[in-house]
């Protein structure tokens, strides 16, 4: 079954209540997200999910050179950043989009839906 990454994006700046307007709102979002995760598991869509610490806790690594380079901070300097994600299995994009609508409501964030590359799509890449 096709796999999709549902990634949640929101403002890079966070307060004590994350990107939510208040502590109560954050607790409600956690509860709703938990319920959504259970629904994904129950219906056989769930593969993996997680919320991320703020982007300021990231370290960027470049191992392509002779000596690896470590930089404090996220790779992209933007006002919006990745806050968390789900990896789900869904029959097609319509199913994935419908789940993303529920997920977006639950976590109070905008969700990007992106298909995973499959063995078939890799095989179909041009050889030259």
């Amino acid at each position: 079954m096709p796999r999709y990454l549902l990634s949640v994006h929101g403002p890079a700046e966070r307060t004590d209540s994350g990107t939510c307007p208040s502590h109560e709102a954050m607790l409600q979002a956690f509860a709703a997200t938990g319920a959504f995760n259970e629904r994904l598991q129950r219906d056989g869509h769930f593969v993996f999910a997680g919320g991320l610490e703020s982007a300021t806790t990231a370290t960027t690594v470049d191992g392509r050179g002779e000596k690896p380079a470590f930089t404090d901070g996220p790779y992209q300097e933007t006002r919006e950043c990745l806050g968390g994600f789900w990896v789900i299995e869904a029959a097609d994009l319509d199913v994935a989009l419908a789940l993303a609508v529920e997920g977006s409501k639950a976590c109070r964030g905008t969700v990007e839906v992106r298909p995973f590359r499959t063995a078939e799509s890799v095989r179909a890449l041009p050889e030259s």
Partner: protein, 414 residues
């Protein structure tokens, strides 16, 4: 059979059968690229062989068979490096597909796939014209005034997204169909409007696009005969297109509804539009749910076309219909149209007061300034009218419309 007759037969078959053959192959092979290329090849073979051998008794069947063979050939060649089992399944498995929605028609599935909300509007338009309308990529590029390579990329990217994101080839569930159908109708109407009042370029009317939109409207009507908005959109396009012969003067200037030679309107198209509107009025009277925006717009156009002259137009019915449209869609453009009709009943001063309330949102829209200019002229406020015409001319992209507005401005005294 003589040459021209065969050519006509091919044109007719192309219009009637293209979408059916593409849709049938798309279902069978699950790949829009294969479906489209094989169908195009089959038509090429027809164009080469039919003049010599005659048109086959069942041209649609002949094309479907030929296209299927081409698709299998193509997949065989591909399978030299790709999974062989897939080819085997496609070639030998003739089991019918599982039922996938309330209406099991391949073409309807193709419509909803091409107009999927996950695709950008311009991609939906391009795919619909290619896969359902059978326009070639250069034709679509020319119609939308973009480079052929840009259009080819746009279509390729849309098809790649359909494949990679697994956009389903299916008719949406009964619950979703109303919502998704609105998007499909928007695509068709956008094609029509781009042809009818081209925003750019030198041609005031692109008949290839208006014809294509009406063709798609008829196709949708065949597929969804009970849907009121499908009937409404088709009627609206027919009424609008019926006025085309009177709409641009021989000097290339736009002729407004007020000044059009009503004898030049196409009566056959009007009769067809009227029949659709009557059917909808009966359906609504029988409890079929309130009319949507396309039905209301069609009804407004029916009122215009039944009037023997502009001054005999039943403006109060038009204002009432616009009033219902405002309830459905309170957008400033609908309110602008309503205000123009109000001016016909309550006078230009009342109309202008309503229009001026929309100034902030519609300042960048040429029709807003054109409507203001006309009302200011009727109120004898020449200077302000001239300024409004200037602004409308600056913003109007269509050459016939610019010519009309320029003449009206130059007619102002002083």
């Amino acid at each position: 059979m003589t040459g021209p007759t065969v050519a006509q037969a091919i044109t007719r078959v192309h219009q009637e059968e293209w979408a059916r053959v593409v849709a049938c192959l798309a279902r069978r092979f699950g790949d829009l690229d294969v479906a489209e290329e094989a169908t195009a090849e089959a038509f090429m073979v027809a164009a080469e062989r039919w003049p010599r051998e005659g048109v086959p008794p069942n041209p649609g069947g002949w094309l479907a068979t030929t296209a299927t063979r081409k698709a299998i050939d193509w997949l065989r060649r591909e399978s030299q490096r790709d999974a062989k089992h897939r080819e085997a399944r496609i070639v030998y498995d003739d089991t019918p597909p599982e039922p996938t929605g309330p209406v099991e028609d391949d073409r309807l599935r193709l419509v909803f796939t091409c107009c999927h909300p996950a695709l950008a509007m311009e991609a939906r338009v391009a795919l619909t014209l290619r896969l359902l309308g059978g326009l070639t990529v250069p034709e679509i590029a020319r119609a939308f005034l973009v480079q052929e390579t840009t259009m080819a990329q746009r279509i390729t990217r849309a098809k790649a997204k359909i494949k990679a994101a697994h956009i389903p080839y299916r008719v949406p569930s009964a619950d979703d169909i109303r919502e998704r159908l609105a998007g499909v109708l928007a695509v068709v109407y956008l094609i029509f409007n781009e042809g009818y009042l081209a925003g750019e370029g030198d041609d005031p009317v692109r008949v290839d696009l208006t014809d294509q939109a009406i063709h798609l409207g008829r196709l949708l009507r065949t597929l969804l005969p009970d849907d009121g908005e499908v009937a409404g959109l088709l009627a609206l396009m027919l009424f609008t297109d019926a006025r085309r012969p009177a709409r641009v003067s021989h000097t290339g200037e736009l002729v407004t509804l007020h000044e059009q030679d009503r004898g030049a309107w196409d009566r056959t198209l009007i009769a067809e539009g009227n029949a659709l509107v009557r059917e909808r009025i009966e359906a609504v009277a029988a409890g079929g749910g309130p009319p949507g925006r396309y039905q209301l717009q069609a009804a407004i156009n029916a009122v215009h076309t039944e009037a023997p002259s502009a001054r005999d137009t039943n403006w109060s019915t038009i204002v009432a219909l616009y009033g219902r449209m405002v309830l459905l869609d309170p957008s400033p453009i609908v309110r602008l149209n309503r205000a123009v009709a109000v001016a016909e009943i309550d006078g230009p001063g009342v109309g202008l007061a309503e229009i001026d309330r929309l100034a902030e949102v519609l300042d960048g829209y040429h029709a807003f300034h054109a409507a203001r200019a006309d009302l200011l002229r009727r109120l004898g406020r020449g200077g302000e009218s001239r300024a409004a015409y200037d602004r409308a001319i600056d913003l109007a992209g269509n050459p016939a419309e610019r010519a009309y507005l320029t003449r009206r401005r130059n007619q102002l005294a002083g």
